[in-house]
């Protein structure tokens, strides 16, 4: 018998135990099935159908996936979107998370004044609507009336300014950085909370041994918050591969210029809902959504089997 069963439940009559389980787990199972599992399964089912102009649907098996991955008309934009998505994710991993960790490290230093103020200010953008963020940055970076060009000129770097959001070479990275700016508060908060959990004795002991704050951070604190950092990475991965709103609000569903900012989310939106004269194609859209689901699932599995198992947790 597994040791986790408590003596109380072990002695319960079976029917009563079942009733208890139903009572505690039932609501969650029902709600989760209804709002998460059912839509997921229904989407996958829909992706195996195709519809004719009259709206009637017929079963086609995996034909939609064959088209999506095999027909250059569909596969080219799909791989383009996936590639862009990887860049989007890489920027977040290389900028958002290190900056988040650094900010959390700074905030957790002893004797920092106005901690609460900084924490709130840095978390604020996360709570703003994406539409507001997109609109503000559009204005800030606008070559016509944005403050960015003026600010650069004021420090003698005016020649560096370019209409970043409009250039094929820089639009995607610019948008990624805007997203980083918005969401950097989340890794900061999570890691900050983990840092606060580290017992003072450990830090004190290190200090007695003569370590400075920098080395304490890298040799003591950072290893102890690694599990949280990996959690943050997974959250970033899932959020990035589901991202859509920022690109849509700044660049529209056609994710220009020349699809340079097209990510899986916008590609899905165009396919499912259509754009201007392009009619929406729900069955093909469902196929795109299913592929997105499997990409995320694959990423999570890799994480689970390659990373999660190797992380050592310390119980304080």
């Amino acid at each position: 018998m597994p040791e986790s069963l408590s003596p109380v439940t072990a002695q319960m009559p079976r029917a009563k135990l079942a009733g208890l389980l139903l009572f505690f787990l039932g609501p969650a199972v029902v709600i989760y099935s209804l709002f998460s599992i059912y839509p997921l399964v229904a989407t996958m089912a829909l992706s195996t159908y195709t519809s004719d102009p009259s709206g009637a649907r017929s079963f086609v098996g995996l034909a939609n996936f064959q088209t999506l991955l095999g027909d250059a008309l569909w596969s080219k934009p799909f791989w383009n979107a996936l590639g862009n998505n990887l860049i989007f994710f890489t920027v977040h991993m290389c900028v958002q998370n290190p900056v988040g960790i650094a900010l959390a490290g700074l905030l957790s230093l002893p004797r920092v004044r106005l901690k609460g103020f900084y924490r709130t200010v840095m978390f604020l953008p996360t709570m703003l609507s994406v539409v507001i963020v997109g609109f503000s940055w559009n204005l800030i970076l606008s070559p016509l009336w944005g403050v960015a060009s003026g600010a650069l000129k004021a420090v003698g770097l005016g020649s560096l300014f370019a209409p970043w959001l409009g250039l094929e070479s820089s639009a995607l990275v610019t948008l990624s950085l805007i997203s980083v700016w918005q969401f950097v508060g989340i890794p900061m908060m999570l890691i900050y909370a983990a840092l606060l959990n580290i017992p003072e004795e450990l830090i004190d002991a290190a200090r007695v041994d003569g370590l400075g704050q920098l080395r304490i951070f890298f040799h003591i604190k950072l290893p102890l918050v690694l599990p949280t950092i990996s959690l943050v990475s997974v959250l970033t991965f899932v959020a990035n591969f589901n991202a859509f709103d920022l690109i849509y609000s700044v660049k529209g569903a056609l994710a220009g210029p020349n699809f340079a900012t097209d990510i899986l989310g916008t590609f899905f939106y165009r396919t499912f809902f259509g754009n201007q004269l392009q009619l929406g194609n729900p069955t093909m859209g469902a196929a795109v959504a299913t592929v997105m689901f499997f990409i995320i699932l694959l990423g999570l599995c890799l994480y689970l089997f390659l990373v999660q198992r190797r992380i050592r947790r310390y119980a304080f």
Binding site: S54, S142, L144, A162, G166, L167, G256, P257, Q276, L277
Partner: protein, 420 residues
């Protein structure tokens, strides 16, 4: 415990039924689906009251969605059975698909449909032209709106030919006070709709070229189409700095703040400018390429209205559509929304001078609709989407006019086989 659950379910069912009852509304009321959320005020304060003078018992609710979301939202509501009684129709395939899915009724039986010409109805007919499923409301005309003060200051006049047009732009560029030509490529469609489709019809001879494209007699790689791309590619030096990141709203603001000389315009911009611009404005039709005599304008049938096939109140909906065919409605609409031009055969007096100028072009030039709209945007890749993309790239200097034509034609060839 089981009993309480049952009771709760019962109460919930009752509540749902009540809500459903409220939503489906009583007879004598109609709900209009539209993407014209900018016009909500005009519908509520002018159009609906005017209709209610004839039919005081019919209560009408104007319920618009944001233009970007309209198609998606409407389709979802139609599929879910919660859409309004009257559906504002996008031109061509978006509405045709609704008719084919039996979500729109035919409107041939509506009294007053004979007030519209075949061209006016073409955007809302089946391919064989036998059935019409929306009542045409208005078209929009593309051209150029200019700042009269800026023109007076530099002593230039409305350009008639493209050579004159370029000379005017060059003069404004040298002077430096104004952005010579206001257009951005960030939103992509500006380059296609106010660029390519605006100056293009003179090259491909309007409806003739459009029909030839559909019949396969012309290709987008033909010189007339490449020439149109060459023309818009030549605009780049005259656009505002950083035009690659200039959005449509930026363009509107730039011009209405008086910082631009010429604005590549759709007539729908007039009402925005009327509210904001403090200077006198004029309009000129797309200047003619060298060696052409006939002029063509993009006079695009854009907006119509049909009946939701699932409506519970079709009788009243028909009365409303009948009223839409009358000159009374056309007059109110044309003057409340300068820049949206009624499509009826009876001419309507337009008070706004810029709008009147633009609608006046119908007398001197031949009208055509955008060539990507009928039939040619039915497949994948979608010609209209492609056109936005390549037009923006051509203006950005990222794609040559020849490559643009080739990309469009290659895309079209992948799925479109013209009828022989």
């Amino acid at each position: 415990m089981r009993r309480t659950i049952k009771a709760a379910l019962g109460a919930e069912a009752a509540a749902l039924a009540l809500l459903a009852g409220l939503a489906s509304a009583q007879a004598g009321s109609l709900k209009i689906e539209s993407w014209r959320n900018d016009d909500a005020d005009i519908w509520n304060s002018k159009i609906i009251p005017a209709f209610n003078k004839h039919y005081p018992d019919i209560k009408i609710e104007f319920a618009p969605s944001a233009p970007k979301e309209y198609n998606a939202a409407l389709n979802a509501r139609l599929d879910g059975g919660t859409a309004g009684d009257l559906i504002t129709c996008r031109p061509f395939d978006a509405s045709l698909a609704l008719y084919q899915k039996h979500q729109l009724d035919a409107v041939d039986g509506i009294k007053g449909m004979e007030n519209f010409s075949d061209v006016a109805k073409a955007a809302w007919q089946t391919d064989d032209g036998k059935t019409t499923f929306c009542v045409p409301i208005a078209s929009v005309i593309a051209g150029f709106i200019y700042n009269k003060e800026a023109f007076a200051k530099l002593g230039v006049t409305e350009p008639k030919t493209l050579d004159e047009f370029h000379a005017v732009l060059e003069k404004f560029k040298k002077d430096g006070t104004y952005v010579p030509l206001v257009m951005g490529t960030a939103d992509q469609w500006e380059a296609a709709t106010m660029g390519f489709q605006n100056v293009g019809p003179d090259y491909w001879k309007g409806e003739v070229g459009r029909a030839n494209l559909i019949s396969g007699k012309e290709k987008l790689t033909d010189p007339q189409y490449v020439a149109a791309f060459k023309e818009i590619a030549a605009w780049a030096p005259y656009l505002g700095s950083g035009f690659q990141a200039q959005t449509y709203a930026d363009s509107q603001n730039l011009f209405s703040l008086g910082k631009g000389a010429i604005y590549a315009a759709g007539s729908w911009d007039i009402s925005t400018f009327r509210g904001q611009a403090k200077f006198a404005m004029g309009a000129f039709p797309p200047p003619q390429p060298a060696g052409t005599t006939d002029c063509y304008i993009s006079d695009h049938t854009d907006i119509a209205m049909g009946i939701n096939a699932a409506s519970k109140n079709k009788e009243d909906a028909k009365k409303f559509l009948e009223w839409l065919t009358t000159p009374e409605f056309a007059t109110i609409y044309a003057n409340a929304l300068p820049g949206f031009f009624p499509l009826g055969k009876t001419p309507v007096k337009v008070e706004d001078d810029v709008a009147a100028t633009m609608v006046g072009w119908r007398q001197s030039c031949k009208s055509t609709i955008r060539n990507s709209y009928q039939i040619l945007s039915r497949g994948t890749p979608n010609l209209e989407n492609e056109l936005w993309n390549v037009s923006a790239q051509v203006v950005n200097g990222k794609l040559t006019p020849e490559a643009a034509g080739k990309q469009l034609q290659d895309g079209l060839d992948k799925w479109y086989k013209p009828a022989k």
